[in-house]
């Protein structure tokens, strides 16, 4: 009797969740896994620089201030990307810039998620007056061109003291990006929640006596969260590029090297034939954007059930 039960259990195909299924599809594609490895490398590098600064380790990227050679040394075997005007290694500066960019993009994503997801869910769930207010707020924000809005926020917030905390450098940058870019995610979540709210599982949860907030945060948001992740894997690239443009315009980090500031330096240097600082920053940005673009597309293909049907 027991044996028979075991046999039937073995024969039953095991169900896979959306995530398991998606990951299986992803793992089959070699190029996507390579891209994922590159993205992980960037994140590890940023994390490593944080640790190195915290414990005061003397490693390459944290010693970017050192003069390694004469000013404007071209790339050589000793110094992969040459040196800048102060004789600092461009390679070390590029590595350090990773930390700034990843920090800004992560914090900006976090802020815009923290605003966009709950607001979208609340608007889609309650409808009525609350919905109208939230829609009004985001249609107001989206009627101002994105780049202008970010710049306005960055200019006004720069060097301000808010709640006893002085906003400098990258804090301004990620606040400006985060506070302006939650509109897309809010709209997406609102639409999805409006659809999901009519489903049976919400009715079931209500019949158990779940409160509204429990239904929203425990049932609805987890069910639409894969869309958030897909959206953000692609939006992350935009955040990195926005950080580069803001630092380039002098609204970002002033004391430490960042990719945008390196490009700004290169603007003058290029006419003297000093191309390596520009090239290093371009390659760094290009690699992370390319891998994120490919990975984000693959993630969408493997997780979005609507695309899978075709």
């Amino acid at each position: 009797m027991i044996e028979r039960e075991q046999i039937t259990r073995k024969k039953l195909p095991k169900g896979r969740s959306l995530w398991q299924d998606g990951l299986r599809r992803l793992r089959r594609r070699k190029l996507v896994m390579v891209c994922f490895a590159v993205i992980v490398l960037y994140f590890l590098l940023a994390g490593f620089i944080y640790l190195a600064e915290l414990f005061d380790w003397k490693v390459g990227p944290t010693r970017w201030q050192e003069e390694v050679s004469e000013s404007y040394e071209p790339p050589s075997r000793k110094c992969i990307f040459g040196t800048d005007i102060f004789g600092q290694s461009v390679f070390r500066k590029t590595l350090y810039g990773t930390k700034i960019s990843i920090t800004v993009a992560l914090c900006a994503s976090f802020i815009s998620l923290a605003i966009g997801v709950p607001l979208g869910a609340i608007a889609g769930f309650f409808r009525g007056f609350v919905d109208e207010i939230i829609v009004w707020i985001y249609s107001t924000l989206s009627s101002i061109p994105y780049i202008l809005l970010i710049l306005a926020f960055a200019v006004v917030l720069r060097d301000k003291t808010l709640f006893g905390y002085k906003l400098t450098g990258i804090t301004t940058v990620y606040l400006a990006i985060g506070l302006t870019s939650w509109v897309g995610i809010c709209r997406l979540i609102r639409g999805e929640v409006m659809k999901h709210k009519e489903r049976e599982y919400v009715l079931a949860a209500r019949s158990y006596g779940c409160s509204n907030s429990r239904i929203i945060f425990k049932h609805l948001i987890p069910n639409v969260f894969h869309l958030v992740i897909i959206d953000f894997s692609l939006r992350f690239v935009g955040f990195i590029h926005a950080e580069v443009i803001l630092s380039f315009l002098g609204l970002g980090e002033a004391e430490r090297p960042s990719w945008g500031a390196m490009i700004n330096d290169a603007r003058i240097e290029l006419s003297r034939g000093v191309w390596w600082q520009m090239a290093a920053a371009t390659i760094a940005i290009f690699l992370i954007s390319l891998t994120l673009n490919i990975f984000g597309d693959a993630l969408r293909d493997s997780l979005d059930p609507k695309l899978r049907v075709q």
Partner: protein
């Protein structure tokens, strides 16, 4: 129809008020009193007081007919934005910058649409082949190269090194001369994302039933593409095109900065550098108004062109 247009126009009122509220919060409440900054380092208290008087910074924030809050709305609705830091009226600056900006943006805009739509048709023609895959790869790679690198390397090689175009704007150059290279760079930069978008639009259309029917009755691929697919793909294309028009007014911040073109993008960059809130405020408000207006126009065009859109 008239009722629909009136209702649609009424919907814009809360949005315009919202934009005004946002700029007030940003530039007056968070931005704060900038009279000390305006007056410079060695200013006497009297000068600071004069500046506060001129910009109305000594008035109450709310709760008065002559408060800063009411004045902010009044000045925006009458398009009178006061004077910039260099004493020139903001509105004059904007009027002056609009010309060069449009001279740069309009050819660029038309170039991008024509090239990417026609290329996307070609890609739809060769879909599924090596060329299709190659185009997608080039598009993604092009999207990943930072905008700044395109501009800098373009300027360095085409203008500085090979001398094909003037490096910077100067008043004695003709419009075509100083606009040529920025337009070219702008088109190349945005080709990647645009081509990818239009390719998706075309391929989505290719999956429709009417395409299958057209093929089934023996039409050639060329006929199906130009007679059927292109016409149906017009709706998403027009939406994207019309919604991009208000952004033309903004000019291109980075292109104008690199090539020294005295347009609105350059004006913005200068305003950011000198923290000139008045100019940034005016630009934000005007571009939002343009956006809202074009949004209404798009909606009305839809209702007019597509019989499936109802007037409710």
């Amino acid at each position: 129809m008239t009722v629909y247009i009136i209702r649609r126009l009424l919907y814009t009122i809360p949005i315009v008020l919202g934009v005004l509220l946002l700029t007030f919060v940003l530039f007056t409440l968070v931005g704060g009193d900038i009279s000390v900054e305006l007056a410079g380092k060695n200013a006497t208290p009297e000068t600071i007081e004069e500046i506060r008087e001129e910009y109305g910074l000594n008035k109450p924030l709310f709760l008065s007919w002559d408060s800063q809050f009411i004045n902010h709305f009044k000045s925006a609705l009458t398009f009178d934005f006061g004077r910039a830091r260099d004493r020139e009226p903001v509105i004059d600056k904007i009027k002056r910058g609009a010309g060069p900006s449009l001279a740069l943006m309009v050819p660029m805009f038309i170039g991008i649409i024509v090239i990417s739509v026609s290329l996307s048709l070609v890609v739809a023609f060769v879909r599924g082949t090596v060329w299709d895959v190659l185009t997608v790869i080039i598009c993604v790679a092009g999207m990943s190269i930072p905008y700044l690198s395109f501009i800098l390397f373009g300027q360095y090689f085409f203008a500085y090194k090979w001398g094909l175009f003037p490096v910077f704007f100067s008043p004695d150059l003709s419009t075509v001369q100083y606009v040529a290279l920025p337009v070219l760079i702008g088109i190349v930069t945005s080709l990647g994302s645009n081509l990818r978008f239009y390719r998706t639009v075309m391929l989505d259309e290719m999956r429709s039933d009417y395409v299958r029917t057209a093929f089934a009755k023996g039409l050639t691929t060329r006929r199906v593409l130009f007679k059927h697919v292109l016409k149906n793909a017009m709706i998403p294309i027009i939406t994207r095109v019309v919604m991009a028009i208000p952004f033309l007014f903004l000019g291109s911040l980075l292109l104008e900065r690199f090539f020294g073109i005295p347009g609105l993008g350059y004006l913005m960059i200068e305003a950011i550098g000198s923290r000139d809130y008045f100019v940034i405020n005016a630009m934000t408000y005007i571009s939002a108004i343009l956006f809202v207006v074009f949004n209404v126009i798009t909606d009305i065009c839809y209702a007019w062109v597509d019989p499936r859109v109802s007037f409710d």
